[in-house]
Each structure stands twice: as structure tokens, then as C-alpha cells.
Symmetry: C2
Amino acid sequence: MPKSDIEIAREASIRPIIEVGEKLGIPQEQILQYGPYKGKVSFDFIRSLEDRPDGRLILVTAITPTPAGEGKTTTTVGLGDGLNSIGKNAAICLREPSLGPCFGMKGGAAGGGYAQVVPMEDINLHFTGDFHAIGIAHNLLSALIDNHIYWGNELGIDSRRVAWRRVVDMNDRSLRQIVSSLGGAANGFSREDGFDIVVASEVMAIFCLASDLEDLTERLGKIVVAYTRDKKPVLARDLQAEGPMAVLLRDAIAPNLVQTLENNPAFIHGGPFANIAHGCNSVIATRTALKLADYVVTEAGFGADLGAEKFFDIKCRKAGLKPSAAVIVATVRALKMHGGVAKDDLGKENVEAVKKGCSNLARHIRNVKAFGVPAVVAINRFVTDTDAEVEAVQSVAQELGAKAILCTHWAEGSQGTQELARHVVELVESGVDQFAPLYDDEMPLWDKIHTIATHLYGAHDIQADKTVRNRIKELQETGYGHLPICMAKTQYSFSTDGNLKGAPSGHSVTIREVRLSAGAEFVVAVCGDIMTMPGLPRTPAANNIRLDPEGRIEGLF
Amino acid sequence: MPKSDIEIAREASIRPIIEVGEKLGIPQEQILQYGPYKGKVSFDFIRSLEDRPDGRLILVTAITPTPAGEGKTTTTVGLGDGLNSIGKNAAICLREPSLGPCFGMKGGAAGGGYAQVVPMEDINLHFTGDFHAIGIAHNLLSALIDNHIYWGNELGIDSRRVAWRRVVDMNDRSLRQIVSSLGGAANGFSREDGFDIVVASEVMAIFCLASDLEDLTERLGKIVVAYTRDKKPVLARDLQAEGPMAVLLRDAIAPNLVQTLENNPAFIHGGPFANIAHGCNSVIATRTALKLADYVVTEAGFGADLGAEKFFDIKCRKAGLKPSAAVIVATVRALKMHGGVAKDDLGKENVEAVKKGCSNLARHIRNVKAFGVPAVVAINRFVTDTDAEVEAVQSVAQELGAKAILCTHWAEGSQGTQELARHVVELVESGVDQFAPLYDDEMPLWDKIHTIATHLYGAHDIQADKTVRNRIKELQETGYGHLPICMAKTQYSFSTDGNLKGAPSGHSVTIREVRLSAGAEFVVAVCGDIMTMPGLPRTPAANNIRLDPEGRIEGLF
């Protein structure tokens, strides 16, 4: 039986975090330690780096995934280790996992096999407390809204139009929709409310897009929390909320440093939803890594249609980042699925289905290239993959001018990604990258959505009912027209129908709703059911999680 | 103008926490650092101390307080520094402050003047994340309850009789009473629910009374979360919740080490409510401190009628601690109030009122002595106090066989508590202490309440309606009769009427409700309005809290 992730992690020879920091040239006293293996890089040190040149930024993204995921995180870890193993100074940047889902179905999000970040239990649970800080900052704003209404409501908030829900870092379906302030006058004015999971908070998105504490405060102040009876927006700064919220986030905003199983530096910082938010780690972590390493490998959520697009059009645009290359992770299994094979048959060789399913890969390659970013395909190998299937993928990629490289990091660590690492270095050094976002800031909101849907999703057009169109018009006219779009649609298809596999064309994308994230500075176009508070399954993972007699965690994976 | 607390704290020469630990003989690698000035003492190290002899334990308690408080925390800090300054190896143990109230009215709880613990901003905000861990462990149990009901409710939980509310570490009145699980079948079964502040969680009380991780897990499993339709209790362990809850608390349960302004060691760990819970820092912190220091000074919430009684009858009883002395903090102002002086006149000399108000002090001295613990009075000096007033206090104390010593630690640090420190050493070394709890475990619950009310509060009797009497009888008969009582009554009087100052006698104590804290192992007797979720004031302190351009916190105090 192969070793479990946690067994592999426990056997690793983890190094003190100050040693890992030393590799990047961070003086010991500039790492705020959270125990021996976790640290935050001090802001003083980060400020001192401003004049240094940036390293090269490599995005790891994926084809349209199966529910199991294609292995972006393991590939990011594996490529980081691979680059280090061929003598490069490389760091990786990942998102922080949310604590809540650990007790539900999925287990953690710290990689797997021999491509993990450690200490994995810490990373998956409280880590350095960032998500707790984000949650409490969010809920302070909630308390200030209801407190304002309670004490006379000078701003004239319409309690039916409070746009700011509450958050908890737990899968708890019973809090999705509640009525609050019951029990009489002393408890305020009853109204409908609800809770989202912390990663869905706009504070999380702001945290990940802010360039520094000042920008963070400014953005927090711009959050639209409610509307008045005549539909004028009420902002967080109208409640003087941005100051205390920034105070609560002051320590959290410094990026976290941990390590891979091969003792290479890993920044793990921030983790916004990839549907109603942009799904990438913090700008501060990425920028810090770029100052300290020659190669920085990072990931974005979901497939390239969502994750890479938002990474390019939101994060890179706003933070002035210039990615030099993109790795598109693909699995033979997922390509077979896109080729029409049923789930139970994915283990059987089927070269024709792989070829057919490569239509999905092909569109992702073209899309990434449309941003001026050179691409390489990483085939994340499973034991059931046959040589003929792998060759089929490689030949399709070849036709599109991208190399497809077999990777075995899960089983072999950096040994399994050295070829990928060498090719990435080649791509980056070739200087062919000429990154540009897909659309200009000035393009109207409607046209931005249209551009994404037609250029990247293969859609024929976009649709929206009158209410949605009016809302888009209103945002356009009230000073939000320059914002980028954050698409919220299913990650399982280029279309808005998760069952349409491969590379569907000619479909129509219906925008059901638009949401303004004024602090995060994007407009969310909702094109499907969006779940911002998961539930627990019948038999939650929590049932198997406990401490063993030595106080070690059992059952987290 | 005198310096503010935060100005004094910032001018302090704070030392690296590993140096503070060295004073106590803690090896550097046994302190898990949270930045340079905060640390958790490792459990491995704590386990290695088992065979060491204990130091002496000194409780700081107070007379019946005014709403401003009499200065227990500053006196605890001052006495700890005083003991160190006369050459003793002393440590202090305090409660962690709750984050929520910082944004409301009160500011922080890290001492004041020259008797503070630092880093005060950290201590008052997220600190080492303990309260966040407690909050999320609590809410995991909540989610598991509703999830169990959602998936078929095999245990037959009566959704009208769920006893486990949710928590958030924020003053948020609008969450006191809610209806959850609205919005249709996918969101569960609608029911009444509500949120308490984290410090009111039974998990907090358990955290503070648990002797180790095993005991913690055991206690968490015993929590009564709900009742079935035929009123049988459903426990947390029926939901397999104790394992994952303990996992979430694993790091938090290690005690936090910080320092006073004079660089002496301070353990700050846990902070349960002093009304529905016992109001003392964690047993683990106190025990660890006793292994490492010759003198350990600790505090308990509210006046001695509540705080000291619970410290003795709950914490010391259960943890096998033997306090060697008690310091009763008094202020001339509060004694004048007990003598009948109106709030606006407290600044004027009034020796007669002081004498009259000393009836309150006298009863507290007698009460403390009834536990076999020698007492000393610390007069926490205010500038308006006159010599004649101070002498009046001293002479009353003298008559009761207790010395009353003037203390000026707020203005002078350890210089202001050396006389107190020397006298405490004398008391402790005299060996006159013969601590025993007020009542035996075997005494019936009703009689325990009666004993506390008549022996300590001066009450004539206790009363309760039939429902409450039946509930007490039921608890007595279902295996909870051996538990100690946790009295929840106003802290502003020996009686249940906060306006009855001095030392009222012959009154009746009405028990309105009893609550079972089966995991914390006490029965709460509620004798007044108990607020477990505060609200924010019209102009919350949050309005003035912000970061200055250097990223430092402004307005926290």
C-alpha cells in the first residue's frame, strides 16, 4: 500500500523556517515565527526590497477539471522543487486552505504525495490565523451596520437592502439564511441575513489584492455595505469601519512562509473563492516572492477559463505583474472524460477518446496564448495512463506549438518535474512573453463580459434579463465601469452547463446577476448557481478526526 | 498630562520572549514563538515538569466593585513585579482579554499605567489565536448538530431543545436571537437559535479547567448539546464531535507566555466569563507557572464573593490547587460608595463613609478566611484618597486580623508594591494557610447553593420556583449532584440586587434558572439577568481605532 500524504509529510525532514528564509536571503529577525516551522515575513523587510528587480512569474493552471481536480497544487509544488533541483532559485506561492471544508468532505489543500507543503496539519487548520482575522474583520463590519441602525440609523440604511452578510469559517448550511435581531427592541431591528464561509468574504478578496496597508484600508472603506431607501450606496467608510478592520488585519497581511517536502520556500497567503472572487493568493506574497526568488511558481483556481483569466485580467492587471509562462495541467483521465468516456471507464485505454477530449486542452492553450503568455502542458501522470494515450496528448499540444511533458512529482518529487522545469526555464529565457490583459479598462462592462465569453468560452453571445442589464448600466454610469469582470460560472465546462464537456461552441452565456465588489475592485458576473456556504455531508470527515494518545492529529487526510 | 497606557507600553524596553522564558528555566526550543514577544510553552516541556515541587499560589481578588473595577489586574501585575523586585522568582497568571469588547466601550484588559503586560495590542487583539480556536471548535459542534438533524436525525434530537448556541468574538446584539435554516429544504430544519460571545462558550470553561489534552477531549465529549423529545440528553460525543474539537484546540491549549513592563514572566491563557463560568485563567497555565516559579500571582473575576469563591470551590477543588494567600484589592472610592456616597461626590474626603463602607471589605476578609486562606488588603491608591481615609481602611482591616497596605503600582510599578510583596511572602512563609473548599462534593446541589448564599452572601435563605427546584432535583438524580456550583449573580452586591451596597444581610437569593455545564463540570445557578452577548454603544470605540501611517495601532486605548 502506498504511503498516505500525512505519513509522507511526517517522514519529511522539515527544517526550521529561519533556514528556509535564509535561502531567500531573509535575515532571521525579519521572520516573525509562529512556532519553528511557520513564519511571517516582516513588512519592514518587504518595504526594503522595493528597488530590487523582479524574478520571473510562472502560472500553473489547468484544463477544465473533473471534480477530483487535475493537480494544480501538486504541480506547483513539484515545479518549484524541480526548478530548485536544477539549480534555480525558485519559490512557490499558494492559496491558504479554508479550515471549514477539512471537516466536511475534501480533506486539506497542501498538495499530496511527494509534492506537499509542510507542516500540513497547521496549514490546513488555523495556520497563522489569517482567516480568523479576516472573518472577525468582516463580522466587525456587520456588527457596525446593525449597531448603526439600532442607534438611530442616521445614514438611512434600508434594512431590506443590507448587502453585507456575515461569515464563519465552517461548512454550516443552517446559517445560509436566517432572520436576525429577534427577541425584542433591545436586540435591534429584525431583518433577513445569512452567513457565507470566510473565503467568500469580500474582505478576503481585498486582502489578496491590496498592495500594502494603506491600500488595504482604502479598499475596505470602499466596500458597499447597504443601500438607502432611495438606493444610494452606503460604504464601509461611512461607518468608520475601515480603520478598525485594517487594525484587525495588520498582522495577517504579512505573507506566510513555509516549505515544501524538499525544504524549498513556499509562500502561502490568502485564499479567495475562485467563483465570486478571483481565486489567487495575495498580491503581497507574490510580489515579495518575486523580489526574493528568480522564479516564482503560482497557481490560480479552477481551469484556465476561470482561474488563468482572472489571474491575468484581475490580479496581474491591478498589481502590474507580468507572467512569463503558463503551465497547463492535464490528466489523461480528464481528457478521456472530455472525449465522452463515462466515469467508470476512465481507467481503460482509449486513445481516440483522449484525442477527442484534447479539444478542451487545445482551447485552453489558445486562450493562454491569447494573453501573450507562452504555454507548456504538464501531464500529471496516473498509473493507468498508457504510452499511446500520453503520446496522443503530446501530439495535439505539439500542433498548437506547446510542448506536453510527463510529470511524476506526486510519486517522485522534483525528480518527476525536472524536464518540465528545464522547459519552463527555456520558455522564460526565450523572452517571447508579451503579456497583455484581454480587454482594456475603458471597455464597457457589458462588452468585457461579451469579450470573455466569445473569445475564451467559445460562446456565440451573452444574454441577461432587463433587471440585470439595468444593473450593469447603473454600475457603468455610477463610476464602476472601469472595473474588471470576475466571472462566476461552473468550472466544469467552457459553457454555463457543467455537462457540456470538451470545447463547446456557439452557446449563449446567460448572466443571472451582477454583484459589485467595490473594495476588491471588480464586478462579479454570476452565470450559474453560486454556493457561498457549503454544507457537511452525511458522514462528515470530522467523524474520523481526533488526537492520538501522543497528541498527534489522526484522520485529517 | 500623564502618559496613556499605550504610550507607557511603547516606551517599555520589551525583551525577546525567549529571554523571559530563560528566567523561568524554559529552554529556548521549548517556546513556540508567535513573533519575538509572544510564545507558547510546549506540552513536551510541561510534561517533563511533573515531578517538580509546586511554588506558592497567591490569589488577587477584590471587594464588591464599582463599574470601573478596583484594579485586580494591575495589582496582580504590580505584585508579580514587586515580588521579583525583592528578589523572589515570581510569575503571574492572567486571563486573556476578549477581542470583541475592544471595539465597544471598555478598551483592553492588559493592566494599566506602570503595571501592564506587553505587547498589549497583540494581547488585546488576536494574541496567539486561542479564542479563535475556541470559537471555531464551538461552531463546529453547532454545525454537527444541525447536520445530524438534516441527514435524518438518528439520535432523535428535538430541534426545540437544542441547548448549544453558536458563538462569535464580537459584540453583536443582532445575533442574540435568530431563526436559522430558513430558505427551504436544502438549508435544514428552521429553528430558534442565537449567538453568544466566545468567552461565554462552555468550550472556554472546559479549556480553562482541563488538565491535559486527554481530559480536554473527555470533557468536550460530555457537553450536553440537546435533548430528545422525551428529554434524554444528547452529548457531544454522540455526534463524535469531541475528537475534531480537540484537534482544533491542540495548539491553543499550550499556555501563552508574555512579560510585564518590568520584563517579568506573565502567563495569559484562557478567559471564561465570570458569571455563567468560573472566571479564571487556565489550570494548565497555573500549574505550569507553579512548576517554574516560587510565587505565582493570579486573579479571578469580579469581587471575592463570586471570583474568589469560584476560584476556590471550582478551580482549586478540581485542579487540586492549594492557595497560600489572598490579596483583596480595595479602593477608597469604592468603599465610600459602599458607605452611601453618590458617584459625583466620591472625590471628596469622607472618613465616616469609608468606615461605613468597610462593612463590605470586612465581609470579604471573613469570607476569604473561611476558606482557610490568609488575607491581606491592597489599597489601590487614587490621587484623591486622603491619609485619614486610608487609615480608616487600615484600622478596620487590622481589627479583622488583616493588614491593609497602600499600593501605588499604577504610577510606580514594582516600587509601589514592595511592601505588599514583603507581607505576602511573610504570610505565605508563616504556613498558616489551610485551604479547604466551602462544601463537600457530596453535599446536594440545593444545599451547596444554600451554603454559598448564607455563609458568604449574608442571605437568610434561597428561593426557587417549582420548575427550577424540579430541574435541580433532576440534575441531582441523573448523576450531576456531585458537581460544584457556579453562581451567576450581579457583581455589584452581596445580594442579587446590584443597588444594595455595603454588606446586606437577611436577604433572600432567588434562583431563576439552573444550567448544566457537564463538560466544564459545574452547575450554573442563575440569580439575575445574564447577558452572554453584549452590544456596541452608540459611538463604539471602533470609530477611533485605526493604523497610523507607520502601521501602528491608534486609539485602542
